[in-house]
Amino acid sequence: MTASERLQAMIAKACFGKDAEATFDADLAGFLAAHGVPSEDAEALLASPRRLRLYRRLVRHNVTGVIAAILERTRARLEAWAPGELDRMIDGFLDEVGPRTPHLRDVPSELLAFAAPRWRARIREASDGSLSGQASGAERPALPPWIVDYAELELLEFTIGVAPRPPAPPPLADVSVERPLVFSDPKRIVRFDWAVNRVPADDVRAEPERRPVDLLVYRDAEHRTRILELTPLAAAILERLFSGKPLGASMVEACEAKGHPLDDEVLAGAARLLADLGERGVLLGARAD
């Protein structure tokens, strides 16, 4: 390692290392020596012995600030149900992985990619009885079992809202069963175990109903993120349509997959769904070519 690399490695560790603050507060000279900082450089750093702590605070303030802003509702619920949990998870994320994106706004996505499997494992362990349903110690408060679904939906609302501008749609024709349909972007269908879309935003103690939900999350013409709850069959049809299959084939395949007869009721329901999506600006028409 060059001297520059050693210095930058030391500062990065001082900023993101889990126990670094306690370590360099207790023995800055030892901390610098442990990172191979040459003695003459260490001397310069020791001249401002408390300033490394300032950088640690500045760095962490920026990262935690954007997470708190973009996952604002999730944070409020974690604070209500499992105080300190988000901060502990951020500490772990910074220590073990750290942000990789140059875009600060994408840090919450990276955090959730780190946190979701860990939270899910804890929730599973708690429900299996391998951990107490209550707090299993001051370090591990019980998590609400719906928190990962809740966080993922909140993050998706943000990412759909800021997703890049889509390319212009292809030439359009009238909707017919033999043609693939054209939809606006961005959009995504997601499935959750909990009806987190129904939870009042301002009631941190409200719990979602435990039932599977299929949601279409899309951006409207005014750039607002919208959520439409779908029946399982409607979600199955739309998933096939979004993949580019023609309308007729999408309906046949979806009914087969869901064990549902393709009857008049389904045809009428699909017509209503497509009309609704047309009014919402999600369905643009059918591919002309």
């Binding site: 490695a9 500062i11 450089d41 750093l45 490394l52 702590r53 990262v63 600060l104 997703a163």
Partner: protein
């Protein structure tokens, strides 16, 4: 590398907190500055706001994560995205900071200091040249606020800035507030600092507000009555969360008298006041700008006061 600035006067950093209102009111501003990191790869409302801003004001860009002083390789995906963004916004130059912000692939999202060493001059200048080639517009580097020397300095900050600019043949984004903050925190002569940096390379200046904090526990405090006795007890952090200090405006004025009509930008990122308050601060800076540039014109033309208009014609 000297820049021919078509943009001049006083601009404002565009921020989400007031973007709707400012786009509605369209106040007279010489230019607005944006951070590409806030827009690249982003659609929807943000993208639409950028389109609207581009219709109203000239845009200049100021980046945050190029990590010109870093030891990680420059991120080619970021530079390619940035080049496309600069083509779209038609920014006449792009600036980023003389610092590091990544290490080991981890992005620290802060402007972290590099040591003022001879070996760093060549290393960083080489990165600046390569970044400049990659983005396709002139690149200017900004002097940052820093709070510790991350290694034994072999020269002053101003000498380091000057040598890097010379070696990289790049522009200087002169942050007047940062210069004053560093000079006050470390106790050096800011006018000597200004005499050392290459003012002929300045393409743009920044001014911003700062806050005073207690040393050690970093609690927000009051500005000390006697700045000369504050060191060791209080320090300044470059928060961009306050009005521009009188000393910084005075330094701006002295510097503009030397540089002439270089564009100046007001940055505000925290405790953002109502838009009218921000615009009033822009107007105060414009008064400074007009006064200083008129003096510069008199000095450079050698004509008596009152002859500026004729000289302009």
């Amino acid at each position: 590398m000297k820049q021919k600035n078509e943009i001049t006067g006083v601009g404002l950093g565009l921020r989400w907190e007031f973007i709707d209102e400012i786009l509605e009111r369209k106040p007279e501003l010489a230019f607005v500055e944006i951070s590409p990191e806030n827009y690249i790869g982003r659609g929807g409302w943000y993208d639409a706001a950028l389109e609207r801003a581009m219709d109203v004001w000239p845009i200049v860009t100021h980046g945050l994560t190029m990590s010109l002083g870093g030891v990680d390789p420059l991120r080619e995906d970021y530079l390619a995205d940035l080049r496309r963004f600069l083509e779209r916004t038609k920014s006449p130059w792009h600036s980023d900071h003389l610092c590091f912000s990544t290490y080991g692939g981890v992005v620290l999202h802060e402007l972290l200091p590099i040591p003022f060493k001879r070996s760093e001059v060549a290393r960083v200048a080489d990165r600046i040249k390569r970044a400049q080639d990659a983005i396709g517009v002139p690149l200017a580097i900004e002097n940052v606020s820093f709070y510790l020397h991350p290694g034994k300095p072999e020269m002053t900050e101003a000498e380091f800035v000057a040598r890097v600019c010379e070696a990289a043949d790049c522009g200087l984004m002169l942050d007047v507030n940062n210069a004053w903050v560093n000079a006050t925190n470390f106790g050096w002569d800011v006018d000597e600092w200004m005499r050392t940096v290459p003012l002929d390379r300045v393409v743009q200046m920044h001014v911003a507000g700062h806050d005073w904090f207690t040393e050690g526990d970093f609690v927000l405090g009051e500005r000390p009555a006697d700045l000369s006795k504050a060191r060791g007890e209080m320090m300044i952090v470059d928060t961009h969360g306050n009005d521009v200090a009188a000393e910084v405006l005075a330094l701006l004025e002295r510097t503009l008298e030397k540089t002439g009509p270089v564009p100046v930008l007001l940055e505000r990122d925290q405790s953002i006041p109502p838009l009218d308050v921000l615009l009033a601060e822009v107007r105060r800076i414009e008064e400074v700008w007009n006064r200083a540039c008129a003096r510069h014109l008199r000095q450079s033309s050698g004509r008596p006061a009152g002859a500026e208009e004729a000289a302009r014609r």
